[in-house]
């Protein structure tokens, strides 16, 4: 087998170490630069300071765009989670011809390039009054986020042991009680991690935002996109660092949820 000898194994580890470095270092390298006392993106740093974070907080467009992003993300997540969870339950119960076609439609937003949704929405959300509107953006983001919820909830439902529910029924629990006490705790991690995905999708989305937002609806990614296009300064890297911290936080939460879900299903120690 490849990498079975000591030398082979060492080579494999070295190679993979480099790939890991390629994956992670670029993200980490911006963190120290955002604390630079100078304006230039060089090492060694001339000194450490929080001045770029202060500018971020003082600068009104950043604050406004952060607010917009949070609001849009919350609404999109709510929509995507409710619709995606319902659909996951529905598809798990239903057997009918054309199910895979319906599945294909529901998962298509993950695959169809975002630019296609963006241009479609640009033309056809207009008559609904949904362009230059946070609601329109939230709806488009829910379209992008719902498949993630569908997939994660379906996965937990697929792993749900039906005998557990039947046992609850057998012990005399009415359906809603069985749902609340047995089904819900088991699928909850799936729902929450689907919701996390949906939120991250919205919070990071810039293409639809470029098409659907006016100056008053500017979101954080759009603000960053335009900032990067003009000039990358430590202020943008400060915003980026905050987003990296958020990513780490969400990743940890998602990982904890995964473990909890595996434990509840009796899959892991």
């Amino acid at each position: 087998m490849l990498g079975s000898g000591l030398l082979g194994r060492a080579t494999l580890w070295l190679y993979c170490g480099l790939v890991f470095a390629f994956l992670v270092l670029p993200i980490l390298v911006i963190v120290p630069l955002s604390f630079s006392a100078g304006a230039f993106l060089h090492f060694p740093l001339p000194g450490l300071s929080l001045r770029w974070y202060e500018r971020l907080i003082e600068h009104e467009p950043w604050r406004r765009s952060l607010g917009n992003s949070l609001v849009v993300g919350a609404v999109a997540t709510l929509l995507a989670t409710v619709l995606g969870t319902l659909a996951a339950f529905g598809l798990a119960r239903a057997r009918f011809t054309g199910k895979s076609l319906l599945m294909a439609l529901m998962l298509a937003p993950m695959i169809v390039p975002v630019i296609i949704l963006a241009i479609g929405a640009y033309f056809f959300y207009q008559p609904l009054g949904l362009t230059s509107s946070l609601l329109g953006l939230a709806i488009a983001h829910a379209v992008l986020g719902a498949p993630f919820v569908l997939v994660t909830v379906s996965a937990t439902l697929g792993a749900l042991d039906p005998t557990l529910v039947r046992a609850a029924h057998g012990l005399g629990a009415p359906p809603w009680l069985a749902f609340r006490k047995v089904t819900l705790p088991i699928i909850a991690p799936g729902v929450v991690s689907g919701a996390l995905f949906a939120f991250v999708t919205s919070f990071d989305e810039v293409v639809v935002a470029l098409f659907l937002t006016g100056p008053a609806q500017r979101t954080l990614p759009r603000q960053m996109f335009e900032g990067i296009r003009e000039e990358i300064n430590p202020e943008i890297l400060a915003a980026a660092t905050i987003l990296v911290a958020l990513a780490v936080l969400l990743l940890v939460v998602a990982e904890l949820l995964r473990r909890r879900s595996a434990r509840l299903r009796g899959l892991a120690p």
Partner: protein, 349 residues
């Protein structure tokens, strides 16, 4: 459980704010970003909001009649925009700009003749210049557009604004045509082809910028050895970031007048007029060169600029002899055809 409820409450509040009709939005001002818009924010936008109580939202753009057309669809999300002359003329003709009340602005004779138009009033006099980092050329930098196109004498990447405007003028100057004869040469049969051929000769060393903030950034990061740039951005980088960027005024430059316009069907027309009036007051215009050296268009504004800053604006007596005034008629006639040609040329390897 409580967090779900909070989430629901936030969503409900957000949905309420979603329901606001488009007309209830704030007045929007669209300018050219970066250090320039920063100066405008400090000198004009902030004080205007304080003085009038009208709330302003800013946006940024990099020009182009097509962008103006998309923004004018339906009820526009933009109100007041700073445009270049060809955009002003074309936009006015196509009915996407609002005619101005010149009496309220103090009369047409109060402004430079080129700053007066049915749909727009001059904002600034500015120039596109040849710029480089003085620290990188201890033995003297490029001093002509021919140098810009000479990759033997000055190796390295260079940058131009994306689009035909100014680029064709510079490519023509690089062939040895004096500024005063440039448009004559471009109008002559084959003139445009020659300019494109000149651009093509350094294509592999060319990168293109769109936003005015990019050229100083490209110079600062060493990405290019020289670039075309808006003159004010170069001076601003020197003043604010202690750079040693140089402008080769004597290489020849294209200077022109930008105008303030109001989009037709703007739901904030009255406020927009008020803002345009505020922006073009001579005492306000005269404050700009101290931060970023763009010249006033109001005749009285020109007189109010302190002498120490006046030398750095394009129309100062030292600089003006090397300047070429942007030929709006040529560009109104050709901008779309040539933009298409330029883009098709630029995207090919």
């Amino acid at each position: 459980m409580r967090s779900t409820r909070t989430l629901a409450a936030v969503a409900a509040a957000a949905l309420l704010s979603f329901a606001l009709p488009a007309a209830a939005r704030d007045l929007t001002i669209t300018s050219w970003g970066g250090a320039y818009q920063g100066a405008q924010r400090e000198l004009y936008f902030g004080p205007f909001q304080k003085e009038t109580g009208i709330k302003l939202v800013e946006d940024t753009w990099d020009g182009g009649i097509g962008v103006l057309r998309t923004k004018a669809q339906g009820t526009p999300v933009w109100d007041v925009v700073q445009v270049e002359t060809d955009e002003l003329v074309l936009g006015c003709e196509e009915g996407i700009l609002e005619p101005l009340d010149w009496a309220a602005l103090g009369g047409k004779d109060k402004f430079l003749p080129a700053a007066v138009h049915e749909c727009g009033v001059g904002a600034i006099v500015w120039a596109t210049v040849l710029a480089y980092d003085g620290n990188k050329f201890p033995n003297g930098g490029p001093s002509s557009w021919a140098d810009f196109f000479d990759t033997q004498k000055f190796p390295g990447k260079r940058a131009l604004r994306k689009g035909p405007r100014q680029a064709l003028e510079f490519a023509t100057m690089a062939q040895g045509v004096p500024p005063a004869k440039v448009y004559e040469a471009l109008r002559a049969p084959g003139g445009v082809d020659k300019a494109f051929a000149k651009l093509d000769s350094i294509k592999k060393d060319l990168i293109f910028w769109e936003a005015g903030a990019q050229p100083p950034q490209l110079l600062a990061s060493g990405e290019v050895v020289m670039t075309s740039a808006y003159n004010g951005r170069i001076t601003a980088a020197n003043r604010q970031d202690k750079r040693n960027f140089k402008i080769a005024w004597n290489a020849g430059f294209v200077y022109q007048i930008d105008s303030w316009v109001i989009l037709k069907n703007s739901p904030k027309k009255a406020e927009a007029f008020k803002l345009v009036h505020y922006l073009t007051r001579p005492e306000n215009q005269a404050k700009l060169p101290a931060i970023i050296p763009y010249g006033p268009t109001h005749v009285d504004g020109g007189k109010l600029v302190p002498a120490e800053f006046a030398v750095e604006i394009p129309s100062s007596p030292q600089n003006l002899p090397y300047g070429l005034f942007f030929d709006a008629a040529f560009w109104v006639e050709n901008v779309e055809k040539l933009t298409e040609r330029f883009n098709a040329w630029a995207v090919q390897k």
